[in-house]
Symmetry: C2
Subunit: 466 residues, 2 copies
């Protein structure tokens, strides 16, 4: 047996020359710390071309930031394939233009991939494409300024969420996507089976339903990680998850997706709804403030009117009860039915409140889920909130959880959830938590009316392309 690495004289190790790979030529790094006269190289896509007598000016982006680097190309370096949309490799020297702008003066230029609009490239530098048009080309749309700006913001918000909870010692938990639980009443579900007939046949047991062959019970895509978070919260304290959830509804509204991301957090030793509301208000203000430091140019590109912090950033969010909200809307001839407050009414409430986000609290028990805790002074109500904001209405929903074993057992919709009640039997603690729709938050943050533009690959009824 070989025991030492040096015996492998003929085996290679990584060549030191590749140690250079450090994104050192990314445009974001060049723009952050420009060293005039430095010789450097850039790889990216041509976003704009201006052709003059002796020189060609190309705005080059590599996606690392919203800004482009101006590349000055002497005409003798140019080729026929240099065009809008083509990918290029340029070496040259960083310098300042007569107007003081940073630019790269090209020594060498290589077109890596050409891009010919006449061959079917759907985007054009001289046209402003609508987002409906861009959305038809899911596989190419990250090449547009509009979509790449949104995806950079989504990336930044995702990181802000992780940092917010990590710095407060919350533990990130990957709650399961596949679950045998379908009965939280949070909407219609997708069921999951192996596609392969041979696998199904091989695993079939007598008397077992076809849907239950693989896992031994019928299996669904998760609609929420809450119940699983509660299990971990009762062992490890504050926890959170950020992951995909699913709804099999036949809805094609500008606010719904079949696959969307939810941030869910569960707080240990939480027995006041206000504890949750404090965290939600802080988190939203943190994201709205920070994103302007890091992605202001992206926000501007998506909506030129979205150029300052919302007016509510230094105000307290408003809290009203469901009864108060209902009375207010009824007075405005927006009659609230038994179905609850609809989207139009949510947005009207926000308008009444001057655009400041509103927590609606003290919900009638029958309108909310079985696991919510009754209000202490009114057992027809539960300690839950919906947070409403402009553009989308509801963005966050939260509640205290019923922590009384017997009360919860009496309300349990299915025996399959016996494990959930049993969490209350041993070393139980009061908990509360909330769920925030990431795509809706992005709609509010970027002022995007259609939710399908806030996620890289949207899925909705009749649409699961790629």
């Amino acid at each position: 047996m070989f025991t030492s690495r040096h015996l492998f004289s003929k085996f290679k190790m990584l060549n030191k020359k590749f140690e250079r790979l450090k994104c050192s030529s990314q445009i974001i790094s060049i723009l952050e710390k420009p060293n005039i006269n430095d010789v450097t190289e850039v790889k990216g896509w041509v976003k704009n071309l201006r052709i003059q007598k002796e020189l060609i000016f190309a705005d080059v982006s590599d996606g690392s930031c919203n800004k482009k680097l101006q590349v000055v190309i002497p005409k003798n370096l140019s080729t026929d394939t240099l065009s809008y949309g083509s990918s290029i490799y340029v070496t040259g020297q960083l310098s300042k233009s007569p107007r003081g702008q940073l630019e790269l003066v090209a020594d060498t230029l290589k077109v890596i991939g050409r891009c010919v609009v006449a061959e079917g490239y759907p985007f054009n530098p001289r046209t402003t494409h609508t987002s409906d048009y861009i959305r038809q080309y899911l596989h190419l749309r990250s090449r547009t300024n509009y979509m790449s700006a949104i995806l950079r913001i989504r990336n930044a918000v995702t990181m802000l969420i992780y940092d917010f909870f990590h710095s407060r010692n919350f533990i990130n938990i990957h709650t399961p996507i596949l679950t045998s639980n379908d009965c939280e009443g949070a909407g219609e579900v997708f069921k999951v089976q192996p596609d392969c007939e041979t696998t199904v046949k091989a695993m079939m047991k007598e008397g077992r339903d076809n849907d239950a062959v693989y896992f031994g019970s019928k299996t669904f895509l998760t609609v929420s990680g809450q119940l699983h978070l509660e299990a971990i919260c009762r062992g490890m304290g504050n926890v959170y998850t950020l992951g995909p959830t699913f709804r099999a509804e036949n809805s094609r509204s500008r606010l719904h997706l079949s696959e969307f991301y939810m941030l869910e957090a569960e707080l240990a030793f939480c027995d006041k709804l206000e504890q949750l509301q404090i965290v939600v208000e802080k988190l939203l203000k943190h994201i709205f403030t920070k994103i302007r430091d890091t992605n202001e140019a992206d926000l501007y590109l998506i909506d030129k009117e979205n150029n300052k912090l919302p007016s509510w950033i230094d105000k307290s969010f408003i809290i009203i009860t469901y009864e108060e909200a209902k009375n207010l809307l009824n007075k405005k001839d927006l009659t609230v039915t038994k179905e609850g407050i609809n989207k139009e009414q949510e947005l009207a409430l926000i308008e009444y409140c001057g655009g400041v986000p509103v927590f609606v609290v003290e919900w009638p028990k029958e309108m909310k889920s079985f696991y919510m805790r009754e209000c202490q002074d009114d057992n027809t109500k539960v300690d839950a909130f919906d947070l409403l904001t402009p553009i989308t209405g509801e963005v966050v929903g939260g509640s205290l959880r019923e922590d009384n074993y017997n009360k919860l057992k009496a309300k349990l919709p299915s025996e399959q959830l016996n494990w959930y009640v049993e969490l209350r039997k041993f070393g139980n603690i009061p908990t509360g938590g909330f769920g925030l729709g990431l795509e809706r938050l992005l709609q509010v943050l970027c002022k995007i009316s259609n939710i399908k533009d806030t996620i890289p690959f949207p899925r909705w009824p009749h649409n699961c392309n790629m």
Copy 2:
């Protein structure tokens, strides 16, 4: 219409007293900066009780870290319900024990949730439970020291991965879980349909297959986000994703799950396999080093033998070709068949190499996926690697991607992937990427033989509980 918030005199805003909520009494914070004589409060679970004449000593954990805080309880404060596993709320003063240990001397004690082993609590302080036993109680197992240590390490590794890529300007992309693509040849897939018959009937169109009713095409759970990452990489540069992937295989090995997490990264302008290997080697060394700074006590708790950095941490990973690996194994009477290198052989190779991770490169074309690029000097081979490590064998797989439009088109397994070829038509760039199995990495890091203990809620054939 109301236009200003102050009109809402009866509407509440958040009470400032709840601003206190800052996890200030988390045990991790108390232990980090202990202020002797401070009056403080702690909420947590009793992990151990030692009863003496006048005093009771309780080791209390709130899950925020591996360490426990010793709470000294005068007997007159105690109640019958104070026991192992119960949750308690204690106020008192921080002080030093005669031996110099930090402890909280209780002024008040409240048992929040009792825990009686005789009522069915499966864990016992005086027994060392096997991981097979603990795994039977998925909903309660985060209350064990073993499982909570693993979940804290999983949380830390997840954050290290995000920080590693974020600090290098990679953009995080949520690749889709639902996809119409089943044909990457990466294993058997799960299919997805709405569970509700009424929805299916309402959406049915004539001549359409039942499986395709909801999305318009048959829809599956993703086996990899790679192809989607490639689409975004060609618009925005370096990208990565960390999310769930699925396999509908009938395998119950200690290395397979039906739902598991993959880190996938795609590098723009990447035309050397070494570029990928550098990133992978750096990432692994970064994680193995950093986790010892942050979670050493957790590692020790899982495996007392795992008390130092692996011997390979300051060595270069080894690179051998598939042919070399095959010849080496054949010489050792571990004959490699057409099926490729099996698990036993992978582990033997690692042993030959003294336990240092091994990149196996230059794979026969027919053994790998259609999208991999042929080696420049041998078109029977592709530019791909498997990275093998102790305990699990393969942990990472990566390759350069075929970037030639015509070559790729000729190898395409399905017309459904036309979008994937079209990525090469406009402003194309060379890319390469890799996928790393998070659970297998955790197995290697923590020396855990069964993959089911590295994920909060494992799913495998006949098992999708909760």
